[in-house]
Symmetry: C2
Subunit: 344 residues, 2 copies
């Protein structure tokens, strides 16, 4: 591994994503990316008695499917790096219990997807292990219950509000021994906390946009690349309010994002015109995870995309920090992926 | 970095702990290790209006003092790996905001101290960065409020209950360029989830003991060492109920712990005879952190200890998982430290 600039890790051995999974709930199954998901639950309950147990079932299914898709027996898995949005990341920890391998719990709110992938890739790239699973989950009802109001209240929301994705995405990262031709994990740019003093938990896109911009700017500064190097750059969950702000801020920074396709997982996962209930778009740990590990990886494998930068964004507030009048610290972690074939 | 067995990372470049800090509350300041702490608050409020703001102040002070003790300007710090027990690890994330460097949030309940040190050491050892700060915190009143009852209720507790340490410990891990003679981070053994079905949140020591035993057993299996290699092996917070159980289980596993001194940070930090209110002993993320980064590192620097294994234990329950009748998944992460001087 090599440090580029101050914030970026270049994975010199190019770890391979041996297999991945994306498991979602019924709403995501009605969205435009439905065909790229491995499993779609037909109810938010998932046959469980509580929302939290449902989210855990979701995560457990995704972790099993990722191993199956990677063609890796569970006994060969060596590390699990996971986290989620629940207090004490219980979905992830209970999934870890089933996996039975050394477990590193991580938390970066909705940036957990790329934080866990970056750490799993570092383990594999630096010789700490041959196989590591990275994964995360979110469930619309557990998040609504923890951060906002019980869904049963049916409370109204402002037009800046986002809809938490019910989904879990996992990826098996393995040593690049030449037998599997990508997709490869190429680099990761770790984000700093950006907090511009915003306090509205129903406007996360605006709060998180500066963090995405800071990390994207750092990525290009550290690597010496420009946006045109990538076929696609996606943010995690800025949605319809945050993405235009990020675009504006990046233009001010002089980053020529017009060289590439710049989109947001929270806008890609739903059809905002038809699925009005998602308001500004998707959010949650599961959002960038299922879009990346379902849709984007499948396009990388098919060769439709060559190089992609995923910039997962996270709002690190808690219900309590919000109630005590605190602003929302935000962070974004970026991971660059490449399809098989020649080195960049 | 090199993988030993399946669960252990050997840090081949031997990262150095350039400086550390241990900041505690008034109760810990009355315990037998008081003289090894960098700062002792004289009240649990710490001049803040809420317990959560107090914990954050504690963490911020510890992170600043660690940089000062490491003689490292804040601008030179490259990564912060931190976590705590609060929902959404807010103490850590708000401390990260002040530090202004790339931030990896981690969560392993009370094992967070060694999880963060292991990850920070991996970053430095594998060339991902030159300086990384690892840190964690806990505060008696934030934890009581979140996991049990508001302290104002004065509710009674069973004799197996432990007392959450008010404290934050941080360490600056740096590249071993030969200018600073230790202490060195030598290896880390990452733990698997152990869950024997226990459900009593007032008996964490018993729940966590099997996780400590599993990780200690893995450490000696992976490294080929025996307990006598270490002058001291400490668990994080098994306290007076859990430590004897761990001893019994290790004897059954055939690990000759009688070759070394085997103790527990939760027993070392308080005088259980005088400080009756701690009941079975200390617990919390801050427990192993302040004992390690205050007391143990200072003994390593003085040469009173040569080799130490810290086994931080964590109970990964949430108030909600407990209320829903779930058992307590536990984990333990171990890190081996060595004083300056010749290689082991």
């Amino acid at each position: 591994m090599k440090q580029l600039g101050s914030q970026t890790w270049k994975f010199t051995n190019r770890p391979v994503i041996l297999g991945s999974s994306a498991v979602v709930g019924p709403e995501e199954g009605e969205g435009p990316l439905a065909s790229s998901f491995d499993f779609i639950y037909d109810s938010l309950e998932m046959g469980e008695k509580t929302w939290e147990k449902a989210e855990r079932a979701l995560f457990e299914k995704a972790s099993k499917l990722a191993l199956m898709n990677a063609n890796l027996e569970q006994e060969k898995l060596e590390f699990f790096v996971g986290g989620d949005l629940m207090n004490q990341i219980i979905s992830s920890s209970f999934a870890a219990r089933k996996l039975g391998v050394p477990y590193l719990g991580v938390f970066g709110a909705c940036s957990t997807s790329m934080e866990s992938l970056a750490i799993a890739s570092m383990i594999v790239d630096s010789g700490g292990g041959k196989y590591a699973l990275a994964g995360t989950s979110s469930h619309n009802c557990t998040v609504e219950k923890q951060f906002r109001y019980p869904t049963e209240y049916g409370s109204q929301k402002p037009p800046t509000a986002q809809y938490t994705v019910t989904g879990s995405g996992c990826a098996v990262v393995g040593v690049n021994d030449g037998t599997v031709k990508g997709p490869y994990v190429v680099s990761a740019t770790l984000g700093r906390i950006m907090d511009l003093g915003l306090k509205d938990p129903f406007n996360m896109g605006t709060a998180m946009a500066p963090a995405a911009v800071d990390t994207i700017t750092a990525h290009f500064r550290d690597t010496g690349l420009s946006p045109g190097h990538y076929d696609l750059i996606v943010t995690g969950d800025l949605a319809s309010v945050g993405l235009p702000i990020a675009k504006e801020l990046l233009a001010k920074e002089g980053i020529p994002m017009e060289q590439t396709v710049f989109n947001d997982c929270g806008l890609m996962i739903y059809d905002l015109d038809k699925q009005k209930y998602v308001i500004a778009g998707g959010s949650g740990c599961g959002c960038s995870a299922v879009v990346t590990y379902g849709h984007i990886l499948s396009r990388l494998k098919k060769g439709e995309l060559k190089r992609v930068l995923i910039v997962a964004t996270g709002a690190l507030l808690s219900p309590l920090s919000y109630q005590q009048g605190e602003s929302i610290p935000c962070v974004a972690h970026a991971v660059a992926l490449e399809s098989g074939g020649e080195e960049a």
